[in-house]
């Protein structure tokens, strides 16, 4: 028995905190982008009313919950899934995989291809969410980083890219 021991799992609190903050910001940014960007708005329009999706890290979070309200607007609904009916749950398998995604070393599409996420819900809706995440990342990040984070960096006109970016940042910060 000299060579035996049982080791408790411990935690990675710094990484969890970082991912939680990024998810909080991303959730609010999705809400803002749906109000500013036509493509994001269209993606949400194609989802049923009351549709709610979560992006979470296994096994115990953090979570990001975004839903479409009865009036058809996208709303960030917080980080606590308790009591919420989730229609689509995109689960990142572990906190290290979440770090790769939220430090933009891997795009969401690449992370999905590398089996770092599992999807509980309609695949068509999951694809729409990945497209929305890509658009939001283009708005939020400078090109040099966004190119790593998205599948294909788009050639948007000046107005969409820069005015849209300013509007989305303002709305995200003030939670509009």
């Amino acid at each position: 028995m000299n060579n035996f021991r049982e080791v408790a799992a411990g935690g990675k609190s710094l990484k969890r905190d970082y991912v939680a903050v990024m998810m909080w910001f991303m959730g609010r940014a999705i809400q803002a982008a749906a109000a500013v960007d036509e493509a994001v708005n269209k993606e949400f329009a194609g989802m049923p009313d009351g549709f709610t999706f979560a992006l979470s890290v296994m096994p115990n979070g953090p979570h990001m919950i975004v839903g479409k309200d009865q009036r058809g607007f996208a709303r960030y609904r917080g980080w606590d899934p308790e009591g919420k009916k989730i229609d689509l749950d995109m689960k990142i398998k572990n906190i290290e995989a979440a770090m790769l995604i939220f430090t933009f070393q891997e795009s969401t599409a690449l992370a999905t291809a590398r089996e770092r996420l599992i999807v509980d819900g309609e695949v068509a809706h999951a694809c729409a969410i990945v497209r929305i995440l890509d658009i939001v990342e283009v708005y939020l990040l400078p090109k040099i980083i966004a190119k790593l984070a998205v599948k294909r960096y788009p050639g948007w006109p000046f107005r969409r890219k820069y005015i849209g970016r300013a509007l989305i940042y303002v709305r995200t910060i003030f939670g509009l």
């Binding site: 035996f4 049982e6 080791v7 790769l100």
Partner: protein
């Protein structure tokens, strides 16, 4: 012209091993355990795993998972049944439900045999020794190989304390190949592991058990080894190369599980035992000579071997009747390149063994007894050619 793929009249192929490879692969283990319906794993490792930090890497992968891990890092060289009894008691008394083998060789064999005991009763260790004597699936087994793993740990085989086991139930449910676990080894250890894997893959690809599924694993394994082995031996800090080799070894083990062990494998095992040389090194030294002999006897599919060994250009630019010879020449060249990359250590080790004629006779007899060949003279010819480097 389209290449004709060999398709046998009948074949079987079975490989339950899921391979999880690459950046942060270890962090996937908690998720995979959950998929295997396991919550409490026992990790077993060799005595050096603590010193080299491999255990800490494994434990780090479980942080934030909520899973407590039992760690036993005291598997010695040549473990015995006393160790299995000790591990069996730990596993049973503390309620573990899966085994993680951190390492290859003796560690993987110990994990497989422990799995026989914990999935049934300790007496099964005796009763299940032999060919296909395990009747039911075993508990979840995860193997985390190091670079010294030959791929044997992925296979349906285990050898423990003088007993040999062969059953598909011994194959792990999951192989996790992570760069952090493929720490640089010395040149001879890396060469021996890769040559064993190459031998298994080549003998699967050219042997009578060849089929399209075996080909898929063997082809990928051969190609990866050819691309990376000499470079990794010369520069052990080539992380991408080490990861590729570890994958190649695992794939070779999966192919090897679905064919009968070949002549080079069996002869290499016998020489390794009798001359105290790494068996993988012996297999690799013998492989071109075995193929040469099989070619002279009409051999199976040796000309097809040129494609994974030499690539498309070499295959296309070589006349059909010269391809087998060319494939064997490439294997000789590979041995020379590997030896040069190791500063001559590989050839020196082989030549310094100075195997006498009497020992060769003994090896041939033992190899024929083990089913390597039915022909002692044929074995002697292969052994003499390999010894003289002809």
């Amino acid at each position: 012209m389209r290449l004709q793929m060999y398709f046998p009249e009948r074949y079987e192929f079975f490989c339950p091993v899921k391979i999880n490879s690459g950046n942060r692969a270890l962090e996937q283990i908690p998720f995979e355990l959950d998929a295997l319906n396991a919550r409490k794993p026992l990790a077993i490792a060799g005595k050096d795993a603590g010193e080299t930090g491999l255990i800490d890497v494994i434990l780090g992968a479980f942080r934030d998972s909520g899973i407590a891990v039992g760690v036993f890092d005291g598997v010695p060289v040549a473990p015995d049944l006393k160790l299995i009894r000790e591990l069996f008691n730990i596993y049973r008394d503390r309620g573990y439900d899966a085994i993680i083998a951190v390492g290859s060789g003796d560690v993987a064999d110990t994990a497989k045999v422990l799995n026989i005991a914990v999935s049934g009763k300790p007496e099964d260790i005796e009763g299940c020794a032999g060919e296909d004597l395990i009747r039911n699936p075993l508990k979840p087994l995860i193997i985390v190989p190091t670079l010294s793993g030959t791929g044997y740990e992925m296979s349906r085989y285990a050898s423990f304390d003088g007993r040999d086991y062969a059953s598909h139930f011994l194959m792990p449910n999951l192989a996790v190949i992570d760069l952090r676990m493929t720490v640089p080894e010395d040149a001879v250890t890396t060469a021996a592991a890769s040559l064993a894997a190459l031998t298994h893959a080549v003998e699967a690809y050219t042997g009578s058990g060849k089929n399209p599924a075996v080909d898929a694993y063997a082809y990928a394994s051969i190609q990866l080894i050819m691309e990376h082995v000499a470079h990794v031996i010369g520069d052990q800090h080539d992380g991408g190369g080490r990861l590729s080799l570890a994958n190649a070894h695992a794939m070779a083990g999966c192919a090897f599980s679905n064919v009968a062990p070949g002549t080079a494998h069996k002869l290499g095992q016998v020489i390794g035992d009798l001359c105290h040389l790494p068996p993988g090194l012996c297999m690799g030294m013998l492989l071109p000579h075995v193929l040469k002999r099989e070619m002279s006897e009409g051999g199976y599919h040796i000309s097809d071997l040129l494609l994974p060994l030499g690539g498309f250009d070499a295959y296309a630019s070589t006349a059909a009747d010269l391809r087998a010879r060319k494939a064997i020449d490439i294997l000789y060249d590979l041995l020379r390149d590997m030896s040069a990359a190791s500063g001559g250590a590989i050839f020196h080790l082989w030549k310094d063994a100075q195997v006498s004629e009497a020992t060769l006779q003994k090896i041939a007899q033992k190899a024929v007894g083990a089913g390597a060949s039915s022909d002692i003279e044929g074995c002697m010819k292969i052994l003499r050619d390999a010894r003289e480097g002809r």
